[in-house]
Symmetry: C3
Subunit: 165 residues, 3 copies
Amino acid sequence: MESFNVGIITVSDKGSKGQRVDESGPAIEEMIQKIGGIVKRYVIIPDEQEQIKAELIHMSDDLGISLILTTGGTGFSKRDVTPEATMEVVQKHVPGIPEAMRARSLQITPKAMLSRAQAGIRNNSLIINLPGSPKGVRENLEVVIPALRHGIEILLGEASECART
Amino acid sequence: MESFNVGIITVSDKGSKGQRVDESGPAIEEMIQKIGGIVKRYVIIPDEQEQIKAELIHMSDDLGISLILTTGGTGFSKRDVTPEATMEVVQKHVPGIPEAMRARSLQITPKAMLSRAQAGIRNNSLIINLPGSPKGVRENLEVVIPALRHGIEILLGEASECART
Amino acid sequence: MESFNVGIITVSDKGSKGQRVDESGPAIEEMIQKIGGIVKRYVIIPDEQEQIKAELIHMSDDLGISLILTTGGTGFSKRDVTPEATMEVVQKHVPGIPEAMRARSLQITPKAMLSRAQAGIRNNSLIINLPGSPKGVRENLEVVIPALRHGIEILLGEASECART
């Protein structure tokens, strides 16, 4: 696997209405390109559970994207429903990814424990929730990147079981 | 937010029959008052899943309590069903809170990994399971307190998304 | 409790066809014997969700085994379904055990966050997913062992609530 396809979903009511410039989506793209990720689709959508689900399904089922990264909607606000949308579309949970992200962020701020981010697998796609702020995105993505290519290779059947050891 | 309402549920078969003095409920009250928490209701109920659910719903829906803290019923005993009752009434999971509590407790004792505590959100209420012993309550609540007010402010819509960064 | 019964399930397509020698099952047996575990049943089965579920239920319901350890099928491969089978048969989740295992493994390799291992309780049985490799088994089981006897004693009603403090 030399490169892999990436989808970015910025979940933000304000961003989707053009009332806020999305800095988190571009922050993801910049980091993910460095490890061979090619952004095939990037959308900004409101904090609507059905819309998030539909976009996740579209990127996975129609576009066959290997890695879908969401940013935003993982907090305590009434409108924050990104983890719920994610859990509804994945077939397998990957609890270790959000655990690792929160454990690292917790060394920076106790507020990290309020992140409700989830991760999971739908067919050939790994879906990971990232926080909403560009700073949070960078901190969290940095934690995941060292394991990311290997995870995607296993998922796509390009690495053997043995390699996991 | 200057102060916030708190509900305390001590889940204990013995405590509910008056066969054991509850030291954990008072330990919670003492700590939570220091950060502006006002205990609106405090009950001692047996380890009955339906009764725990009913009390959680009453505190959240009828009394509009912002923070509901349970103590007890998170272990391996047959009668321990507090996490199950909690997961049935919440609409959103908050995995980072029990993760942070267990990670800290694990530095004290390996038995910390046996805590099955959960946390979640139901409407305007944050629900957190704490262990049964007063010592466990103090250790765990201490971990959560630095993030608690901020979480409740976001939940009640009194803090902006940006503030989360 | 002087000793306790253990069941080992090696989940491996190749192992079940005799195309690979199972080193992980024996690694579990060696470690678990040292803390008083007596292996009552040890099977090698393919990565089939229904077959894993059936074996878990058989060991728990028919054989009354206290501790069931699985190895394999916790990764990102299409065939990896051990955590899904486990979550379908348990009545209670024990998130702290896989959290502790991953946290420790994460200090060795970032790939640890890709382990999808789960743990839970079915009646009188504690079920824990371990990774597939013998190295992973040893690393992870070492983390759990210090809390294991106590957990099983509580589960079987042989230790009091108070002892948990």
